[in-house]
Amino acid sequence: MGKRLSVLLAAGILIMTMAACGAKSDNSSGSSSESNKNEKVYKFATDAAYAPMEFMDKDKITGFDVEFLKAVMEEAGLEYELKNTGWDAMLTEVESGKTYDAGISSVSITPEREETYDFSIPYFESTNMIMVKEDSTIASAADLKDKKVAVQGATTAETLMAGIMGNDNSNLKRFDSNAVAMLELDSGGVDAVVADIAIVREYMKNNPERKLKGILDTASFGSEFYGILLPAGSELKAKLDPAVTKLLEDGTYTKIYKEWFGEEPNIDNVLNAK
């Protein structure tokens, strides 16, 4: 009994010390951000593993989102810093809003996500594309119903396919990244991959020898819009939104878009998206 008590006591002391440390570091970070209030550097997080939207080129983060963010922050006259934190860390950091102020990582705006986060106004129109082998008979999303399909988990492709195939359908395989999902298609483990159109096109461009084709089905896979991820109630939204609108209207956005995708964006769709 005495032994058990002392173990409990030791555990209690340990927890209290940890709590005290946590409180202390919170204080110090609070005071330091107050002292350089005038030129606050906004910290952005991203998961740079989603070429061509955001990816690492050696040790530098690049991609459409990265160039776009640069233009937005210039327009808004704000200092910022972009770090590759990975997906999970980005989500927790942005939700708490203590260390990071925002995230930009091709995050589609959905009602379920809006329960936790705020989003900037939409800045990018995307849709999902079906990727199959050239000799496949699959022609539309409806054809996928009783096929084996690979998607990247935590993407809208997953949500859409779960809607079509059923959330617990074992033929719907969710992978950690699109790269592994596409490898599964190559190995014949699945009949199709569903992913963002930009990702599918980039993959087909980089792997012409694999003989793949992309199928668009706008009736089943409607447009979706990316927004900048913000903590609930973020004051940054009021600063970002006008800058985003300005870039869309003055042609800067079109210029960046053409650099990355080689075609004209449909600006009206993005501006009119709710």
């Binding site: 927790t92 995050v107 379920e112 949500t159 599964e184 483990g189």
Partner: protein
């Protein structure tokens, strides 16, 4: 931090389904890994170089490379080469069993070599063959000494099985990832999964504790 219990309740059936597969994959991998590990340990102790060299290579490879990479190699290389197509669950069990065998082999070897040489000499003076000596004299004593080390290895294996979510084997971590994807929330799925893993590993260590006690007294 606001914790949303209602989304956990939404996913409880799927998380439990995933936990059942986690138990299945781990149990199979533990059994296959233990059997293979015994074979491997004899290979390692063999005085013939054409047994001991490849076996040493096997142990070095599976202990010295990340399980993450081993799972990918088994899923996209080994399994399609053997059965013609990919299969996440087959790959999961195979990768975990192959990995575990490399560790259990060393546990067997340490256990067997810890038994005093006098035991072997005594058995052989009674006219036992070396196979009989191993089966009736050495192994029963060695296994008792190995149980704590095996317990450790099995607990590690259960936790390592979470890595097979990588190849979309629909186990516990896989469904946690699905839950994370729907709501873009991190703590609800992962803390729930961690809690379920804790229940699994705690039950296993209790079971092994009971076996150890029974083995020592019985």
């Amino acid at each position: 931090m606001h914790f949303r219990f209602e989304i956990i309740f939404d996913y409880i059936p799927l998380l439990l389904k995933g936990a059942a597969l986690t138990i299945g994959i781990s149990a199979l991998a533990i059994v296959l890994g233990s059997i293979l590990g015994l074979v491997v340990s004899f290979g390692k102790m063999s005085t013939r170089w054409y047994f001991s060299w490849p076996i040493s290579g096997y142990i070095h490879f599976f202990r010295g490379t990340p399980l993450y990479v081993q799972i990918l190699i088994v899923h996209f290389g080994l399994v399609p080469a053997c059965i013609g197509h990919t299969d996440a669950i087959v790959a999961a069990v195979t990768a975990l069993a192959l990995n575990s065998a490399a560790y259990t082999a060393e546990i067997y070897r340490a256990g067997i070599q810890s038994i005093d040489k006098g035991q072997t000499e005594a058995a052989q003076s009674l006219g036992m063959t070396s196979g009989q000596t191993m089966r009736f004299i050495i192994l029963p004593q060695a296994v008792k000494r190995m149980i704590p080390a095996f317990g450790n290895e099995f607990i590690v294996l259960i936790k390592d099985s979470s890595l097979v979510a990588l190849i979309a084997a629909p186990e516990l971590m896989y469904w946690s990832n699905v839950m994370r994807g729907q709501y873009l929330r991190v703590w609800e799925p992962y803390l729930t999964a961690a809690f379920i893993y804790l229940i699994l590993t705690y039950s296993l260590s209790k079971l092994l504790g009971w076996m150890e006690k029974r083995g020592v007294t019985g």
